[in-house]
């Protein structure tokens, strides 16, 4: 019996959803918002999931069927409407691209704020991290001192990705971010993820690239309409996933 890292019991997540598309007070009046303007929309439906420490799990599914919501629930950003979500290890923040990037501030400022907001407060450690982010992202010091609004999309991706993967998290959640960056940087990111994985971290990996998942994860789950439809060996899940589109 291995240690459980993540345990989800009958987790359901509902959003209050505007039934009649009411997004302003004008709509509120004209569309009769007084009578139940909100509707419950179920995003995740009765999810049961157990992930062991050190596992690397791929998550696939069509757009908008609950992958990101699942990750946000595990990250504690969304509270489930029903069921319990238990995470037994320390996690690094959910990795979505450009999260927390302030375009007016310089790259260095952004790294500093981002690492701080995600839990590293020690001043010496922050400086150390800035150095390693700088070297990992291959951005020059001059570039890092520019406001990030001057960056290209690829540079932004490098900065954002580097700020997260540079620490050694115990639980890392990656949400469709490997697609950006040039070939060299993509390979570097993959290598870094494998390093993190080999160091014993648990990784949840959302991607639409079957090859990437096969390369990184032994186990995968496929989410359809808010439910886990398949959970098993990556090869089988990928077969199922690719069949969805035929």
């Amino acid at each position: 019996m291995q240690d459980l890292a993540i345990e989800l019991n009958n987790v359901s997540v509902c959003y209050l959803h505007n039934k009649r598309g009411i997004y302003s007070i004008k709509d509120f009046v004209t569309k009769g918002g007084l009578f139940s303007p909100f509707d419950k929309k179920v995003i995740l439906n009765n999810i049961n999931l157990k992930i062991n420490k050190g596992e690397c799990v791929g998550i696939v599914g069509r757009n908008g069927e609950g992958k990101s919501t699942l990750l946000r629930t595990i990250a504690g950003i969304i509270t489930p409407s029903e069921g319990t979500c238990k995470v037994n290890i320390e996690m690094s923040p959910l990795l979505t691209l450009g999260a927390g990037l302030e375009l007016e501030l310089s790259g260095i400022e952004n790294i500093k704020i981002y690492t701080a907001l995600s839990g590293n407060y020690d001043k010496n450690k922050i400086n150390e991290l800035i150095d390693s982010v700088a070297s990992f992202s291959e951005l020059s010091l001059e570039q890092l001192k520019q406001p990030t609004k001057m960056y290209s999309t690829g540079m932004l991706a490098r900065l954002a990705f580097s700020s997260v993967v540079i620490s050694q998290p115990q639980l890392m959640m990656i949400d469709e971010v490997l697609a950006v960056g040039d070939k060299g940087f993509q390979d570097k990111c993959k290598k870094r993820i494998i390093e993190i994985k080999n160091a014993g971290a648990t990784i949840l990996f959302v991607s639409h690239n079957a090859d990437e998942i096969l390369e990184l994860c032994e186990r995968s789950i496929c989410i359809e309409k808010g439910r886990i439809s398949v959970d098993g060996k990556s090869e089988e899940v990928m077969k199922h996933y690719l069949n969805l589109f035929n």
């Binding site: 007070i25 969304i78 959910l94 979505t96 701080a116 907001l117 995600s118």
Partner: protein, 251 residues
């Protein structure tokens, strides 16, 4: 969790300050240029019209700096959740810290300007005595009041974006309904009751007690202010609690 939140708060305030002042040449100077500019206009236009107000410049200044603090903070707070949408969606930071850090940022720039204006007030013949220390609890109370108003606006703004627009419309109206450039004496007695429904009236009354008349704040109006603040805190807490879980799906 506690020290963690404190550090998070520190870095959010740091970020706000950087964003606010980094790319402006004058930086902190703006926090007193803005009221100073209005002061000059009011002094120029109204000092003759309201000649019955003694020391009109000091009268306007004492109200104006607090008005600028109020309206500026409410504007920022009404946008705070929308502005930080990407952070709310991906970091596990308590959501209340975003408006709180915004309020602290505003308080810091208000205080920076305030220090300068206190100097200016002495220059304008404000009586120097210890009663001026009463302004410290008043600022704290006023800040809590502003925070609750801003939190209400910010939470509702997530769901109905026109709350922010509505606020921009109401803002100048509120300015003219509050005795800042004129004295409340000019309001007739029968309208006086409605006039006092404006919560800001009570705050500006005790602020004037201290910074214009140079005496301790009226007990009656101080109690009013405390009651108003408690009411607004309760409303904002209720609204925030009801709405916070829906933020993510609406941002």
């Amino acid at each position: 969790m506690k020290p963690l939140n404190l550090y998070t708060l520190y870095f959010l305030v740091y970020k706000n300050l950087q964003l606010k002042y980094k790319h402006s040449l004058l930086g902190f100077v703006w926090s007193f240029v803005h009221p100073l500019f209005y002061l000059l206009i009011f002094n120029f236009v109204f000092s003759k019209a309201f000649s019955q107000i003694e020391n009109y410049t000091l009268y306007v200044l004492s109200g104006l700096i607090f008005w600028v603090y109020f309206s500026g903070s409410c504007n920022q707070l009404s946008q705070t959740f929308i502005k930080n949408a990407h952070l709310i969606k991906s970091l596990q930071v308590k959501k209340i810290l975003y408006p709180f850090s915004e309020q602290l940022t505003e308080l810091i720039s208000f205080l920076a300007g305030f220090v300068v204006f206190i100097g200016l007030m002495f220059f304008l013949n404000l009586k120097i005595n210890f009663t001026i220390l009463y302004i410290i609890p008043i600022i704290i109370l006023f800040s809590i009041f502003i925070f609750s108003v801003g939190l209400i606006l910010g939470s509702l703004n997530v769901f109905f974006r026109d709350v922010g627009i509505l606020w921009n419309t109401l803002n100048p109206a509120l300015f003219y309904l509050t005795p800042i450039a004129y004295s409340s004496d000019i309001i007739s007695n029968e309208n006086n009751f409605y006039f006092k429904l404006n919560p800001l009236f009570h705050f500006f009354y005790i602020i004037r007690n201290v910074l214009y008349e140079g005496k301790s704040p009226s007990l009656h109006y101080s109690i009013n202010c405390i009651i108003i603040t408690i009411i607004f805190i309760s409303i904002s807490a209720l609204i925030y609690k009801k709405t916070k879980n829906g933020f993510i799906s609406n941002l």
